[in-house]
Amino acid sequence: MVNVSSLLDLGYLVSATLFIFGIKMLSSPKTAPKGNMYGAVGMLVAVLVTVLKMQLSDGGIEGWMWILMGLGIGSAIGYWMASTVEMTGMPELVALFNGFGGAASALVALSEGIRMYTSETYVIAEPVYQVYHLIPVLAIGASALVGWMTLTGSLIAMFKLKGGFTIPFTKKWVRFPTWGPSWLNYAKVGLFIAGLVMILMTITDPGNLKLIYGIVAVSCILGILFVLPIGGADMPVVVSLLNSLSGIAAAFTGFVVGNTVLIIAGSMVGAAGLILTFIMCKAMNRDLFDVLFKTFGGSTRESVTRTKVGSDPEEVAMVLDGISKCIIVPGYGMAVSQSQHLVKEFADMLEENDVEVSYAIHPVAGRMPGHMNVLLAEANVPYEQLIEMDEINSEFGDCDVALVIGANDTVNPVARTGEGPLGGMPIIAADKAGVVVIIKRSLSVGYAGVDNDLFYEDKTMMLFGDGKKMMAELNTALKEL
């Protein structure tokens, strides 16, 4: 007789296929919304198949209460969080969700570990050296090591993306620290090895829950130490890498519970997330190893000795009068100062005077890849005006004014020389425009710690100040013309 429960495994095949097509379609603009839908349907299929399989097994579902309550509470919280989030808070939310995913995998592994080690059959039989116990034992340890690290790392990344946090019951805002002396790397390697050793020890001493708790503790600390030394501008890479890790954790959990769809979806997301991480590193001309283990810029920071006289918004408004083409170059600073709506207002005013306006998007501008697009979309900037770096760079030659807001390293011409920390990084050719207006708080060096020659050129006008404040003043000056 055909075993119905085994036939149901075909449902997992359906859901894995939907995931594959989902991810594939998400990488192309036209099919992306459908791809996301495929992923969601795939998940629904996987959940339904699992519930059916459990119901059809000997004894049926015993834990209905836990299952329904968990699904209900989780859906309500997830729905609430996703529907109340501001567009600008999106990167933080993705980081938080990612942490939850990693934690879920790790919790399953821990739950299975506790159940296995405390069950009577296990204690009596002690089939330690047989493969069917060896694998889950190893997988429980591996899932714990990766999963808890994903949780704590994602939480730190979330706070770094926010920039800080408010102390409860007071209104005091604390900047989130970035701390990482070079000896910390040895500590990280040491902790990781300790984690691996403990996983191996679970083989010879499998009933020992203390080992599992030890792995959990080591992993939690590792996650914190990994993200703490990395600066805010590198968070895109970190979140992407953590996304990959949460996939790997799910795959290991798949080995714990012996479930194929977990293994397939988990390892696929793990690999795809890693590719995305490399794509981002490449765009920043950074090595993943450097991002994770070197305090970037830190010691070799150039101190600025030159000076430049700042301009005022009225001057800039006069320059803008009568031009025909303006390219706006947004950066991290626009995201931090939340000035995208004012930028859009500025662009609208120029367009009323028949100025051609477009936006130059550097692949790593902002806090996450594509962050500028999302922020500007929120401010109702038409999609066609957002142009990627490679396409727009040739247009700066006949551009009258380039307005750089909150960007520094991504427009630093020194990158073309191929030397120094920025050497070889693709940049936006803002320096080719007739006049370059730069809104920035000071002349200080950017994230890479390199001085920017563009600031000191004669055709460059510096507007020193907070992005939002300067944009507002510039808009007022434009109106008064």
């Binding site: 991810i23 992306a32 969080m81 995913g101 879920a104 690999a271 794509i279």
Partner: protein
């Protein structure tokens, strides 16, 4: 219940799973090679929602009535995984709608 939580009963079963694991990794590497920057964040968010597949593991682990530590942990796992899944797909959808909506609404 032991037939649902299919601990690997045979070496063959394990090797088959390991094969699936390795192939899925290769598939993941090949799946995305060219992604426009606009879609990086939605793709990351969508892939993140899919990694909430651990919801399946959480469901399997919660299917015991003991009400002991193991069950509580599995229950927490269901909640967290469901937040990841529901919130993740919704946020991704919102982002994509925004990008697409503005595209249509453009001048």
């Amino acid at each position: 219940m032991s037939d649902v939580i299919g601990l690997f009963m045979t070496l063959e079963g394990f090797i088959l799973s390991l094969t699936v694991f390795a192939l899925a990794i290769f598939l993941g590497f090949e799946l995305i090679s060219k992604v426009p920057a606009t879609l990086h964040t939605p793709l990351m968010s969508g892939a993140n929602a899919i990694s909430g597949i651990s919801i399946v593991g959480a469901l399997l682990a919660a299917n015991y009535v003991e009400g002991n530590t193991a069950t509580i942990l599995a229950f927490l796992a269901i909640i967290l995984a469901t937040i990841n899944v529901v919130g993740g797909f919704m946020v991704t959808n919102n982002m994509l709608q925004m990008i697409r909506g503005k595209k249509r609404g453009g001048k």
